[in-house]
Symmetry: C2
Subunit: 294 residues, 2 copies
Amino acid sequence: MDMVNSPNATKPGAFATLGPRVVSSLIGFSIVVACVWFGWRTMLPMLMFVMVLGLREYRSMLRNRGLEVGGRISAYGYGIFLLISSVPGLPEPLPGVSWREAVMVAYGLHLLVSEVARPGERPLERIVYGIFGMFYVPFLLSFAMSLRYLPNPREGFWYLIITVVGAYASDVGAYAIGGAFGKRKLAPEISPAKTVEGAIGGLALSFVMVFSMSEIVKRSFPPGVNVYDALVFSLLVSSAAQLGDLAESVIKRSLGAKDSGSFLPGHGGMLDRMDSVLFVLPVAFYFLRLAVFS
Amino acid sequence: MDMVNSPNATKPGAFATLGPRVVSSLIGFSIVVACVWFGWRTMLPMLMFVMVLGLREYRSMLRNRGLEVGGRISAYGYGIFLLISSVPGLPEPLPGVSWREAVMVAYGLHLLVSEVARPGERPLERIVYGIFGMFYVPFLLSFAMSLRYLPNPREGFWYLIITVVGAYASDVGAYAIGGAFGKRKLAPEISPAKTVEGAIGGLALSFVMVFSMSEIVKRSFPPGVNVYDALVFSLLVSSAAQLGDLAESVIKRSLGAKDSGSFLPGHGGMLDRMDSVLFVLPVAFYFLRLAVFS
């Protein structure tokens, strides 16, 4: 309500698309929660869908700048392999070695063989941007799977959901508070619309959501987390979310794109939706592993 | 001897540097074997040394093209962390998840924060080439550590040594046979000196070395490998070695460098020495894990 009644509500474009945004966000979030709930069998198709759309937008931005990175089918294929290789319970290569890493190496070799088989201009750029695409979309995204099962399937569900909610709360908080009170530019060269006030708003709403969700979850999984844990975790999640947002801004600005695509009404592209969650997933996973389940 | 008496021996530059090359190769190889023998405590400093020199050459080639990728200290620091995180026996994050992956993510975030803190031209290029450098040098190299301990410290020593010897035998075979009989160009756009005959020579010498070494090792570790196993393994190692060689040629040509540096007399730079082994290490590791220790 505050958002709608804020002084900027009548500014054209600021909240004009709020209706369809909220509706499609709620539908999308419900689908994600359902897929996460049932474990890797339903998460895998969902992640594949999201990954293919995200990678497609990345590749299409590159293509608009004249850089055709490897074959489309091979990119999606390796991306799908990468997601499959992150399903927990697979026999591991060696303790502390992952199959994801094997897919990254294989994709590097694949890009190289493509350059030998069909030589073209700017071979190194194709390899370098190809590896980065595999890192940025499927690799980062695949940590959703690892987080879902940390430390076990029952609790992992909640850790993943709280993390994702914390990341999106950070987005919403930054958008609302930045729109209403934003004065000081955060990173004008990268993303001119972002403000310091928005960043603080993101941190604040992220904390509120993480803390209240963990209070609810506490009833099923005592002892749960205290307010300081929730503060540290939401600081981390919100920072990674805002950096992820900036990362996508760097990609879009450098490649001269405005939105990454137009997957959803009022949402821009799929990458625009994923950006803030991509870095959050591995960061939350390794933080929880080191600080909580060590 | 054949190499010295080959018809090309008098061609200026072809074998002129053979003397110092052989001597420094033998010294280098002895040091590597000793470091590998004593396990991760001696391997780690050796890998750090090699990694810092290799990454330094990569960064300096980029700098010559006007691209300063992140800070030097941070690059070496993350590279060192990446090598440390591949030491076997560390408590793993989750079965099938590696600490190496955490370092890659952290470096991605670090590069991003650098762009926010000190904005400059071409931010995406710095991030993309930065991630690739971390992938190409420390990440690929760190699989030496994994291979050293597959399936156990005693046998792993031999698997790593046979792999490295197979890779360098491929180099020497390609150089000698290519120099003597090379006619058909292998990949003229990428590396004009390489020939199909050289590639076959590389495969052949790689097989000879892998097979004879595994025959010797068989006495300590029966049943050992048969001739077909040795053939398949050397095919794989030699192919990955030659692709690794081409990968470095792509990097050098694209960045307009001739040698990657001048670390050793007659050897060009450290990257020129490492190139053929970089992709071989993870390829051999995952192949042995899947085909032999599954």
